[in-house]
Symmetry: C3
Subunit: 134 residues, 3 copies
């Protein structure tokens, strides 16, 4: 299992991790299979979404904040229940296809860590699954 580490810039942000993942694939010479990417935090998740226009990531942060407001009426005493729920909505893990040594993403796609309770230093875990015989 490999570990990436990154610093997130503010409470809520989508941080692009595509280049770091692709470097890991190249450094390990992984060719054909899949990457399991896992976020070991309970207030940050992972997603794949538009890479070309940074406004999409900004809109995503705003829309999710409107969906799940920071309401002081939650039970959880730390006051970040909104971040826990948004983490479940985004999801804790991704499985990405690797073929011929490349992470296969659509033309407009990038891989993002979704920070919902930063700024913090976050870890991302990566497990390689090579293709076995059918």
């Amino acid at each position: 299992m490999e570990t990436l580490e990154l610093r997130t810039p503010r409470r809520e942000a989508l941080v692009r991790i595509t280049p770091a993942l692709q470097e890991l694939v190249a450094a390990n010479n992984w060719r054909d299979g899949a990457l399991v990417v896992f976020c070991p935090h309970t207030t940050a998740g992972l997603t794949v979404n538009e890479d070309a226009d940074p406004d999409v990531a900004a809109d995503m942060v705003d829309i999710l904040a409107r969906l799940v407001p920071r309401d002081p009426g939650y039970r959880h005493a730390e006051g970040n229940s909104d971040a826990h729920v948004k983490t479940t909505l985004a999801g804790p893990s991704l499985t990405l296809i690797v073929a011929d040594g490349q992470i296969r993403l659509g033309t407009w796609q990038g891989v993002y860590l979704c920070e919902f309770d930063g700024p913090r230093t976050r870890k991302i875990w990566v497990q390689w699954l090579g293709q076995a015989a059918p």
Copy 2:
């Protein structure tokens, strides 16, 4: 990696892809392992949900449209930020169990492409992961 292609019927729709996936498994004689199913688009996702009653898919489209309205106040100039957010909520990929050459789904489950900004021609990528020794 294998590619499926399909045409979606309107802006927002759940399109059933279970038979196409099962045909792919049979054609490749994949027996025991998992299918990574990945949607290379930023305004369409993948989900597993009820197959029996088509009203469930129609309700899903309506409820998601109510959750994330097409609001002209978003930053992203293409005006489809709702579709990007819904794609993250559904998720870009699925990992499906294959055992004895069959995709294992519950009695009422089907696999769906979730179109949020159609109608369009969409691709779906599929990577086979066979079981290796423990």
Copy 3:
């Protein structure tokens, strides 16, 4: 493929399944790879979230119920469309990293079945994917 079975306590609840999954990994002597955990139901999903404070799970249930209310205006005659949508939001499956025979989770994380239309007896399917050569 292995099957776990559990009883959920009420209509909406997060039920912790981390120990049952870890026992399965130990009993099968699975060492390095990934677990595909799949929920074969259309009104229950899977997530990873905070394990330490049970208030987080309670807040999650409340916030999701506020997001997707039990509205009698849905098409689906069984009246549980809210549960179907919440299942798609949480997601039907997880892929968990296993290294040195341990499911790798962050300090505060636990794995949960998300019941949205219980109480019921629910199944969880688990497929092991060992690491093959790169």
